[in-house]
């Protein structure tokens, strides 16, 4: 009948397997990224803090087994007294049944769900994004942020001793020299100290010039795709630049600067002259956003239904004139089925590393578009 005292601090099995479980959640979320980034609950949540929580069902993480149908048949319960047949105890928490033919779609109450924040989705999404063609611009400065502990040295202040690394060094030295990996005979050579360096962060200003074709109708799908793409692009740029300005331009045969709200809502009839928007964009760069001081990211969303071949040629002229001044020029063609437009075909002839096009036909294409615009495969030396 002993009560034993023991040191439990090395007991790590649970946290180890928990970490594996969390890694599986992450992998499952990454698989669903295509749906998540256009999820209205996420991009519609607005607020700047990124801490809004969205519940995401992850069917692939459920532990399927042979079990009885929890919603069929009766069960035994217990009341606090005086229960009678016919008493209503509650309603079903969620309506039974998922999508037809979808294994594991029901019952609603025990679908495995995780809570994710916008920041977590962003973390997964931005993992493989990079800023292409970032070069020193006048507006960028080195800013001193303060000391950060991210260096390890063999000498240092005892108060900054890194115990974990010290023990590891001792273990490794004993494994090497003393014939067994154990913690034994700590020598000064084993000591590891955390030490700080002054962190300097590049900061700069970027401007996004968002252009959109409002000539046709802005259907629900187009609106959602444009919004999702824009939401993540801005969020991504904000994670890399200290200041990000956004200018919204809408156009049909003429272009004008509008506010964010109108940018996503406007729908007007009439023809389309894409060159009008590009010309306005060029003017903005010349007059307000000098390439010497700004990193410039113009993006154009359109269904590509341009007025005439003549205007296509005019558009490309203006485009090629702008390209040396911008960091990246993106063209996203949002189509609901159908073929590449004449504009897309014309753009096919533009060969410039800073010009990238993508077609968005379904929700997961938004992730593809982001990866294409912000891919990290730029030649060595120009990556940030």
């Amino acid at each position: 009948m002993a009560r034993m005292g023991q040191d439990w601090s090395l007991q790590r099995k649970g946290p180890t397997d928990q970490a594996r479980h969390l890694a599986r959640i992450k992998a499952a979320l990454r698989e669903r990224l295509g749906d998540l980034v256009t999820e209205e609950a996420i991009i519609g949540s607005g607020g700047p803090d990124g801490r809004q929580v969205v519940r995401v069902p992850l069917k692939s993480l459920e532990e399927f087994k042979f079990r009885f149908d929890p919603w069929r048949g009766d069960h035994v319960g217990q009341g606090a007294g005086g229960t009678e047949a016919g008493d209503v105890l509650g309603r079903l928490p969620t309506p039974r049944g998922g999508q037809a033919g979808d294994a594991g779609g029901d019952p609603g109450h025990d679908v495995y769900e995780v809570e994710v924040t916008v920041d977590e989705v962003a973390g997964l999404l931005f993992e493989d994004l990079a800023l292409p063609y970032l070069e020193p611009r006048g507006g960028r400065t080195l800013e001193q942020v303060g000391p950060v502990f991210r260096d390890i040295r063999k000498v240092g202040l005892l108060g900054n001793l890194d115990k974990r690394r010290t023990l590891k060094a001792n273990l490794m030295r004993n494994a090497r020299d003393a014939g067994g990996a154990r913690i034994h005979h700590l020598t000064p050579d084993d000591l590891r100290f955390k030490t700080w360096i002054e962190d300097r962060q590049e900061s700069g200003s970027a401007v996004v010039i968002a252009m959109r074709d409002v000539s046709g109708s802005m259907g629900d799908f187009k609106k959602r795709m444009t919004r999702a793409f824009y939401f993540w692009m801005i969020r991504f740029l904000r994670s890399r630049y200290r200041q990000v300005d956004v200018v919204f331009i809408v156009h049909h045969t003429q272009a004008r600067v509008v506010d964010e709200d109108s940018f996503f809502k406007l729908g007007e009839s009439g023809g389309t002259k894409v060159s009008s928007a590009y010309e306005l964009c060029r003017t903005l760069i010349q007059e307000r956003y000098s390439p010497a001081a700004w990193n410039i990211y113009p993006f154009h969303f359109s269904d590509g239904d341009n007025w005439s071949d003549a205007d296509n040629r005019r558009t490309i002229e203006v485009l090629e004139e702008m390209l040396p001044a911008v960091n990246l020029f993106g063209y996203a063609e949002i189509r609901e089925g159908g073929y590449a437009s004449t504009l897309m075909t014309a753009f096919g002839k533009v060969e410039h590393p800073r010009f990238r096009t993508v077609a968005i036909a379904e929700a997961p294409d938004v992730v593809r578009a982001l990866r294409r615009f912000f891919k990290s495969d730029a030649p060595a030396g120009v990556r940030p």
Binding site: M1, A2, R3, M4, G5, Q6, W8, Q11, K13, G14, P15, T16, D17, Q18, A19, R20, H21, L22, R24, E62, E63, F64, K65, F66, R67, F68, D69, P70, W71, R72, G73, D74, H75, V76, G77, Q78, G79, A80, G81, G82, T83, E84, A85, G86, D87, V88, L89, G90, R91, L92, P95, R96, D102, A103, G104, G105, D106, P107
Partner: protein, 442 residues
């Protein structure tokens, strides 16, 4: 000032009242460790993410103050009990008294006769072997295998005591000594056709022995999972009795131990918190405790001692849940009708029958291996022994993937399901061929 009794005093008191517990080692552990043991059910068990998931869920509930576990006891001789290191001294006494009931039950109830005396060491060896396999064959392969094995772990046969071991004749040569402890060896002619002589409820054991394409180490892992599940079966079968017995005895032990008035009041509060009614389920502590108390009042203490030795939950409820008790505990049956959760009956026989059905086979569907050479193409044919409860079909479809992952060939499961238009149960065969599910109504 009365000093609180120590572990030894409590053990002696338990023995003086007639309990025969094994010796108990108590250890005080922090919450993170206690919840870890509770997630793995035994300390030192093999690694798998599903235990990590359980640990995370329990720990989160504890951290937010939604649930508190005071102790966790391991069925072994000597028994191990882990106490939360933030318990008050009185909570510790209460928990130790409760543990005496559990350990006596482990030691004396017939369901537990089959527990291997060295199970803790076995579990540790399993963990070590799994770790070795992870090194040799890669963590990914081992995880996939365990995903399937653990999903099917419910489907092993009940361990029965002291049956002379029937061994696979091929094992006698020593060629398969890695898993000679693998059971239940069905004597089979060594032919292409694999059909169990009698309906075989031991799906995992059957797969471990007869799945055509598994490697030896994979069979070993299945055998380990199977052995661990067999160790837990008695606990699954006696949840109500075990908790009821421990509660019945902590109440009695606390009465004979020397407590100050203040401690007696604290104890009464703890005791009441254990005995909260269960709402849409039953609270096994409360139900078991009340049945034992009732039995003692009606039939005397001999009947109580006998029940503790020979019953499991099914026979305990069937024999001793009386009309008075159903009424006093306000038990009822409930079900879903038109999206409403409503009380169906409070008639005591209906309630008792429903509870017995829920407890039968631990609430786990019984699957039999019918044929290992179905269609003469080595396909596996399983039959669900339908006893009134329909399977969760979407879940079963996905669970078949796990069977197919181990069997390596198409698998089928025959069950019966309520056919809405006719109101009749019809035979339904779920199939999975490694790529797609298909269902056929017979």
């Amino acid at each position: 000032m009365i000093r609180l009794p120590d572990a030894h005093t409590i053990w002696e008191a338990a023995r003086s009242l007639g309990l025969k517990p094994w010796p108990v080692h108590f250890e005080q552990v922090p919450a993170s460790v206690l919840y870890e043991f509770a997630a793995y059910l035994v300390p030192g068990r093999m690694n798998h993410w599903s235990y990590g998931k359980a640990f995370y869920a329990m720990k989160t509930r504890y951290d937010y103050g939604l649930a508190k576990l005071y102790e966790m006891v391991v069925n072994a001789n000597p028994a191990y009990a882990f106490l939360l290191d933030t318990n008050t001294p009185l909570e510790d006494v209460f928990v130790m008294a409760h543990v005496m009931g559990h350990v006596d039950f482990f030691a004396q109830n017939q369901c537990f006769r089959v527990t291997p005396p060295d199970m803790l060491e076995q579990v540790a060896r399993h963990a070590e072997r799994v770790r070795q396999y992870q090194f040799t064959y890669g963590a990914g392969r081992v995880e996939k295998l365990l995903d399937a094995a653990l999903a099917l772990a419910d489907h092993v046969d009940w361990p029965t005591p002291a049956e002379p071991a029937r061994r696979d004749p091929r094992a006698a040569g020593g060629a398969r000594d890695t898993y000679t402890d693998l059971g239940p060896a069905v004597d089979l002619p060594d032919t292409h056709r694999v059909k169990p002589r009698e309906a075989n409820p031991d799906l995992l054991g059957f797969l471990a022995e007869h799945a055509p394409d598994l490697e030896d180490w994979e069979r070993d892992v299945l055998a380990m999972v199977r052995a661990e599940m067999q160790y837990f079966w008695p606990q699954v079968r006696t949840k109500i009795m075990n908790e009821g017995w421990a509660t019945y005895w902590h109440a009695r032990l606390m009465r004979v131990l020397d407590l100050s008035d203040a401690d007696a009041v604290d104890f009464a509060r703890l005791h009441a918190s254990v005995l909260q009614p269960g709402h849409l389920g039953i609270n096994p502590y409360l139900l078991g405790y009340r049945v034992f108390e009732h039995l003692e009042a009606q039939a005397g203490s001999d009947a109580v001692w006998l029940a503790r030795e020979v019953d499991d939950d099914v026979s305990f409820i069937r024999n001793y849940l009386t009309e008075d008790l159903v009424e006093a505990l306000d038990l009822y049956t409930w079900g879903v009708r038109q999206d409403q959760v409503a009380v169906q009956s409070t008639a005591w026989q209906v309630v008792r029958q429903q509870l017995v059905q829920e407890l039968t086979h631990g609430g786990i569907p019984v699957l039999h291996v019918e044929d290992g050479d179905f269609n003469r193409r080595r396909e596996l044919y399983l039959i669900h022994r339908h006893e009134g409860q329909d399977l969760d079909i979407p879940y079963a479809e996905r669970a078949l993937h796990h069977v197919a992952a181990l069997w390596g060939r198409p698998v089928h499961l025959e069950t019966r399901i309520l056919d809405a238009p006719s109101g009749q149960r019809r035979r339904l065969v779920l199939s999975y061929d490694g790529k797609a599910n298909s269902n056929v109504m017979l």
